[in-house]
Symmetry: C2
Subunit: 336 residues, 2 copies
């Protein structure tokens, strides 16, 4: 086990490129600055998802602009030019703040959450955007909006961002004027209108956890039906493909965050569809990289064609598992 840990650690500086030359960037998900050491050690491409909720849950009141700025700035500086994608507040659903009363909801996952909360409290939203903008003067900061379901929401959020920029400019506070903005693709509507959303933003990050829940109408926390939460459902593959197709013709980068990104069985899906980046927990980065180094993009594309001909999730899962054991694990067995 130790030996394999050491072997993996040697991969930290190796670029995540398939034997036939396709790059799959591996970034990290973090919730706190404490995780940055492990991220940097793993050789991550950057932070693909900084979950800012924890900044808000850590205290008895909303964090001030200055408090947020200091955290975002430290992350930006320590990443030394590597991307830092900061997701704006994603509360509601199963995440709550002690100090902010939220409505009692029959179906919180289909409720008042994430960007919906932010757009209803533009005062708080602007505080966060100002803090992120100020940090953008200190590194490669990017902004990501969660739970986007319409073009209007993106425009409204970008409207608040523009206002925050105007204020900072008037105050003479430095920020990066062209800070990239992107969205989570995690609501089925966003998949269906990906072609329209692609005109509004620089990047998409597919949030597989929520996307799969909504797509299958399955709350994965619900014991009675959690077995129906099936990442390898043929509908999920089709939605991933639709997002990539809509984005690629418009020059929009597509990444994947969510648990599925850390599942080594899914690697040929990303390579086969042309996903450009995964964002993972830092412990998953090296194992996933090891698998990327052993997986041919060309074979992955062929596999995807096969997968799209399969009708049921178990067949897709089994085919991926067979591919994984042939393409990836086989090398371990061959090792002397």
């Amino acid at each position: 086990l130790l030996e394999s840990k050491e072997r993996l650690q040697q991969l930290a500086l190796v670029p995540p490129v398939t034997p036939d030359g396709m790059m799959l960037e591996l970034a990290a998900n973090i919730s706190t600055l404490k995780e940055l050491d492990a991220v940097l050690r793993s050789g991550a491409h950057g932070i693909g998802l900084f979950r800012t909720e924890f900044l808000y849950m850590d205290r008895g009141r909303f964090p001030t602009e200055q408090e947020q700025y200091e955290v975002y700035r430290e992350a930006a500086e320590r990443l030394q030019g590597k991307p830092l994608i900061i997701r704006t507040l994603d509360i509601g659903g199963d995440k709550h703040l002690d100090y902010q009363e939220m409505p009692e909801e029959e179906n919180p996952f289909l409720g008042f959450r994430a960007i919906r909360f932010s757009l209803s409290r533009k005062d708080l939203f602007k505080v966060q955007l100002r803090a992120i903008l100020r940090a953008s003067a200190h590194g490669n900061v990017q902004i990501m909006y969660p739970l986007i379901a319409s073009v209007e929401e993106v425009r409204e959020a970008n409207g608040v961002l523009a206002e925050a920029k105007r204020e900072l400019a008037a105050e003479g506070v430095p920020y990066r004027e062209d800070v990239p903005t992107g969205i989570m693709i995690e609501v089925p509507a966003a998949v269906a209108i990906a072609e329209l959303l692609a005109e509004e933003v620089s990047f998409f990050s597919i949030g597989t956890n929520d996307l799969i829940q909504f797509t299958l109408a399955v709350d994965r926390m619900n014991e009675q039906i959690s077995h129906m939460y099936e990442p390898f459902h043929p509908a999920v593959l089709r939605m991933l493909r639709a997002v990539v197709e809509a984005a690629s013709s418009r020059g929009v980068r597509v990444g994947v965050c969510g648990e599925l990104a850390g599942d080594v069985r899914a690697i040929p899906i990303w390579l086969g569809l042309g996903i450009q980046e995964l964002s993972l927990s830092s412990q998953a980065i090296l194992p996933v990289k090891e698998a990327v180094l052993r997986t041919f993009a060309q074979e992955s594309r062929g596999l995807m064609e096969e997968l799209f001909s399969l009708r049921i999730a178990s067949a897709i899962r089994e085919r991926l598992e067979r591919f994984h054991s042939e393409a990836v694990l086989a090398e371990d067995i061959a090792r002397p």
Copy 2:
């Protein structure tokens, strides 16, 4: 008002055909036999959705096969050969039975509902299917499964149906061997794999209420966000189109039930996409028929092209309202 009621009643026997000859069948949604009089008076094509929940909610225990059979048979007989689509039990979500304990759920809409319950209680499911099959000897009975999210579920449900048929055959009880089976399309996954589901069934019925809720991740009962429940969202139009395209090449009929079917502003959507049937509350049938009689299918197809170029729901809604007032209401104004 009375005059307009009488005018509408005269349309009961007029076929629902556009001025340029496209037929849009108008069937009714019912929950009880009591509603049949009004349905027959409206000149409905048949019953597009018999919600059987009420049979189960009406008493302190599950209804017996005989109790169900008598209800289904009476409906079939009174319809005299017109279609009777019986939806199998659709409980869970916000509908519960006093005598059946259901799990406490955080998100019941994404929970243990509908076909998921039926497939977990095949004993009860088979009782219902046997009752429906027995009624199929007395009219044009068809079976519809709710909340289908996968090919496996259809096959599993059809497996129970085949078993019920074998039992009845062995008992010498008459039923229609080729009773058509169809599914509700109301889970986004079903839209994404409509091409696969079309191989398994005779018809689709798009359940707009749930489909829109899942697609937008909006519980429409949730006051805080119910304004986001937007039937004219561009994602909804795209999903409707995807279903029709997948079905039409495979000879599968597509109908629409759900509230949107009763909205006269939506008529050019159905005509423009090539939807073959709507299922409505019986009071909506004649007003919708009147609008169908005044709407050109050709113009509707042109309008759809325009709608697919619009990016936000309010623009789509306004364009449909303008079309409605020009195509449908204009005739009222012209009336002497």
